[in-house]
């Protein structure tokens, strides 16, 4: 775990300083969507890979976090940390409310239930016009401030660094929790649920905790989305998002949080850049990527080694 944290730290520094030095401002904007989707993907990776609870509905807490942030920002709360706490709480509360249904299910049933929840929330976002702005979405969101009384973050590089720092912190906390005995417990429940119950563990409670954690991560991602594009609409939070983050988590080697982030960058670059050269074929490219990943890299892109260990 220490090695993982150090790698994470090194990558964060790289992302913070080396990447902006090499890439032009416009290219940085291309990585920004990966920041918003990265944390939901990390949550999916934890839930599906570590806890063994597959989910196709992380778009829902993502939506809750995004709309909460957008509404708060429009109401004048533009301080970054406050927005982040509010969004994480919103995502976690959504998970707490829906969790009791979800954590009873396993396998394909869990996929269907989370899928339905995701669709429900996306539909609500489209219909509840008075609050969400309906399909038009919420625009005119003021830029975020780093701290109370700080100046608004409008510069591309500064904004990008903000996204990187928040993502790195959330990822660090996730890795720490997974490295704790709670992480072992989740793995044990995934491997042999009956064994864990026979020892006296409240498996359902631990799964609920993991689901709430993933909800908070998705909520944070929602806040970053709003910060990054100053806008949110139902199109940002629907099935497309849920499946994209699942794809990213699978690409990253299911169960590896850092891998899920790497997977997100790959997915976003394929979706936004390659598809731009080949209009209309984005989903096809992603589908091909998915099939290739499942067949060629069962342990994900982070399992690629240059040398044998």
């Amino acid at each position: 775990m220490r090695a993982q944290l150090l790698t994470g730290l090194a990558l964060t520094a790289l992302a913070l300083f080396a990447v902006p030095a090499v890439l032009a401002d416009g290219t940085l904007a291309m990585l920004a969507p990966a920041a918003a989707l990265g944390l939901p993907a990390v949550g999916v990776s934890v839930l599906t890979g570590r806890a063994g609870l597959p989910t196709l509905g992380q778009g829902a807490p993502f939506a809750v976090g995004a709309y909460a942030t957008a509404l708060l920002a429009r109401a004048g709360l533009t301080t970054g940390p406050a927005q982040l706490v509010a969004a994480a709480l919103a995502g976690a509360l959504f998970a707490l409310a829906t969790g009791p249904v979800v954590v009873r299910a396993r396998g394909a049933t869990a996929l269907m239930i989370t899928l339905a929840l995701g669709e429900l929330v996306a539909t609500a976002a489209g219909r509840w016009t008075s609050v969400t702005g309906g399909t038009d979405g919420l625009a005119g969101i003021p830029p975020v401030q780093l701290w109370w009384g700080g100046s608004p973050l409008t510069d591309d590089t500064a904004l990008y660094r903000y996204l990187v720092v928040v993502t790195a912190l959330a990822l660090g906390v996730t890795v720490l929790v997974l490295g704790s005995p709670l992480g072992l417990l989740l793995a044990g429940s995934r491997d042999h649920e009956e064994r864990m119950r026979a020892a006296g563990h409240r498996v359902g409670g631990h799964l609920l905790a993991a689901y709430i954690g993933a909800g908070a991560l998705a909520g944070l991602g929602g806040a970053l989305l709003v910060t990054e594009q100053s806008y949110v609409s139902p199109a940002d939070v629907g099935f497309g998002t849920s499946s994209l983050v699942l794809l990213a988590a699978v690409l990253g080697g299911i169960g590896s949080p850092l891998g899920a982030l790497a997977g997100t960058v790959l997915v976003v670059v394929v979706r936004d850049q390659l598809a731009a050269h080949w209009p209309g074929h984005g989903p096809l490219l992603l589908g091909a990527l998915f099939v290739a990943a499942v067949y060629l890299l069962p342990d994900g892109i982070t399992s690629i080694r240059l040398r044998r260990p």
Partner: protein, 245 residues
């Protein structure tokens, strides 16, 4: 801890796996349940552990009806078990398997803290050592052989310091040395621990059991001391044949 089953029946559809069984296991009693394949022995253990609910009848622990109490709560009350098919968390090491199993009933409960978990691991290593599996501690349980998993699972069950221990064929798949060691470990359990042992290996049963219940087609065919059960002509014809208890 005393266990009473009163008129317990368990049906799977048409099939009656356990049929109006009465069973009494007193504090510290070492009770063997034997019988031919499909007699309902594993189902009986599942009924006690709470993974299967009786169709009719009651399971009482210290006189209290367990009713719909789930397996995790029963485990926290002091019922530990091993499965016929040895159950381990495959991706975790043998040591983590045992330490996690010890956690819910450990004195140092409370918030998960790495230092507490380290203490738990030290105790877990001790249990692995007692069953003769200390050298497996750092191996992922998924890589272990059938017999090795059985030892790890047993260490996990013991590490929870149970008051009632349910063992489903613990000697199956073990070498003679391993099973002799197991007998020594089980004989060395604190006197107040009650054990319900399902086992086909009659030498193993004979070495441990103070009382025996014979199941046949879900019903109790005979029960009593090993000598009395061994001499029962019905038990001889249905299960023992020419073997001696």
């Amino acid at each position: 801890m005393s266990l009473t089953l009163s008129e317990v029946t368990c049906r799977y559809g048409q099939l009656t796996a356990v049929d109006r069984v009465d069973l009494m296991v007193r504090d510290g009693e070492r009770h063997a349940v034997i019988g031919p394949n499909g007699a309902g022995k594993s189902t009986l253990l599942a009924l006690i552990a709470g993974t299967v609910r009786p169709s009719t009848g009651r399971v009482l622990l210290d006189g209290r009806n367990l009713g719909a109490t789930g397996p995790a709560r029963r485990a926290r009350a002091g019922i530990a078990r091993t499965f016929q098919q040895p159950a381990v968390a495959a991706s975790l090491t043998a040591l983590d398997n045992v330490a996690l199993a010890a956690w819910p009933r450990a004195d140092l409960r409370g918030f998960w803290r790495p230092s507490r978990y380290r203490a738990l691991r030290a105790g877990a290593l001790d249990w692995l050592d007692r069953v003769g599996a200390a050298d497996l501690a750092d191996r992922p349980a998924g890589q272990l052989s059938h017999g090795q998993r059985r030892l790890v699972e047993l260490a996990a069950a013991l590490a929870g310091r149970p008051r009632l221990l349910l063992l489903d064929e613990p000697a199956a798949g073990l070498t003679d040395t391993e099973s002799a060691r197991l007998i020594a470990v089980l004989a060395g359990l604190p006197a107040e621990v009650a054990v319900v042992l399902v086992e086909h290996d009659l030498a193993f049963v004979g070495a441990l059991a103070g009382r025996i219940t014979v199941l046949h087609e879900g019903r109790v065919l005979a029960h009593g001391t090993p000598a009395a059960v061994g001499a029962d002509p019905q038990v001889r014809s249905v299960y023992l044949g020419s073997r001696e208890l």
